[in-house]
Amino acid sequence: MKQVTLSNVSKTYPNGVTAVHPTSFDIEKGEFLVLVGPSGCGKSTILRMIAGLESITEGDLDIAGKRVNDVEPALRDIAMVFQNYALYPHMTVFNNMAYGLRNRGTSKAGIDKAVRDAASMLNLGEFLDRKPSQLSGGQRQRVAMGRAIVRNPALFLFDEPLSNLDAKLRGQMRIEIRALQRRLGVTSVYVTHDQVEAMTMADRIVVLNAGRIEQIGTPSEIYHQPRSTFVASFMGAPPMNLIDADYRGNGRVYLAGGMDLPAPVETGRPGAVKIGVRPESARMVETETAGALPFAIDHVEELGAIRLFHGTLGGQPFTVHTSHEHAVPEGTAWLDLRSSTVLMFDGATGARL
């Protein structure tokens, strides 16, 4: 069942800047959808339009089957968690969570129960009488979550909620938020610029670039079958290797330096292409084998469990990801791409072929 539907929703500011080009997608009930992209891609604008904090220039937004373009945020049955928490600094944790319920005229007993339930779910029970300034960043973020939960809304909206936390806490809160959302089953839209958050939390990911959708899909689809070089290089760290090459329509692609590979697809249209190989998909060997390509290693990054080899392939930057047991070759190694997943993108448009 569709919980939220965007049909050709766009946003143009009065100064003529178009932040979001006509965009359409659906969000299923109970789904955790992540909007991801670099800053300025329009992901926050889309979220804020769903929240009602930003007007919709054109198109229709439906929540639970009702067009809500002109409905006040408070009446959209949504709850939002902000990047800087946006807690009311002068109110106690209890009152922060209770404020929305009070404005809705919930009974005193009902408020008390809802707040205490949410607080115990979020391990905030002992902090109910504290002010936000007396809490740590993680606790504040939990209060912000609590404020959203007590309302029992049809839709959770998260606007980069973890970007003010340190890395360790971020990893922990990621898991907590996702577990909580599964438990409550509330449809959620989550905005982030962090591809790790997108990959680990999402049921489906919407990748945005310059106000347009690049691709919608499950994390696995986005990672393994990126529809464009933008998605390929944005998702994954280190990003997918993209190498300029020439496709001549004869079943092979030709790299600089006289190297060539079997073409992963046949398009029948010769021209400039980009070859995409995930760093962990490339296999590095120490001795030259048939079809192996010379890989000049510049430096090695030790990451404990893994090693990253940065170097060049035919003069173009290339990264290989190996386990920590892999030997470190001197100078030049060889890349065997025969068993690798190789993708081919149009050289001009970046679209996958």
């Binding site: 929240a51 990047q83 404020r147």
Partner: protein
Amino acid sequence: MNKTRIFDHLVLLLGVAFMIGPIAVAFLTSTHDPYEIHMKGLMTSWGGDFVATYDKVLFEKGGFTGKVTGLAMLKNSFILGIGFAVGKIVLSMLAAYAIVYFRFKMGVVFFWMIFTTLLLPLEVRILPSYEVMTKLGLVDTYSGLIVPLLASATGTFYFRQFFKSVPEELLEAARIDGAGPFKFFVDILIPLSRNMIAAIFIIMFVYGWNQYLWPMLMTTDESFFTLVRGIKQILLVWVGAQIPDYNQAFALAVLAMIPPILVVIVFQSWFIKGLTESDK
């Protein structure tokens, strides 16, 4: 280290003596009788007329008509000071709220119009203001004393700057929480402005307390006299025929200082927070 400390304290003590000196002299002088003051000038010793002088100043009816006591003047000054402070805070908060949070046509123009009134002090418009008050029949009333001076560009400006520094997300969170413009103002903005309100209260209270020209123009009835006017009056009334009651003038001056000092002491911790710190 120790030596510098002693030196630091010396400097501070000197500063204190410098600041307190005139007040102490005024107080000590007020305890002498006027003839002695007239002959010997300012006094630095305890005079022994303390009870008599302050009793007279506070409770004896004075003035031309014999209607006003020091206590009544104290009350008038309080009404003026508090009326000023509260009125100015309410007005300028509302004005700033409108300017910052509501997008209406010419909002910027209105703000700058308010702002430019800073360039026009009361003295510039004192005659027209008086004319208006006369026509409204507000001469010799508290409203006439307070209302014409309530519009405050300074207050509006301070509150505008403060409201602008309140994070946008707070407004958005409140909107999602179902708070309309009125609730947001009362539940969120006013509590957040607490320190700012205290700071402006002090400034405006002292400003109102020390008003001299406007009350002199607006009130002819002596029962509306404020302390600041009373001081002047004492020196005027007996001038010529007798030696002025210097001791009473000094006593009134000392009394006139106490309430503003109390206000500053009570509000100072908020005042400093209001000017320096933000707990947003």
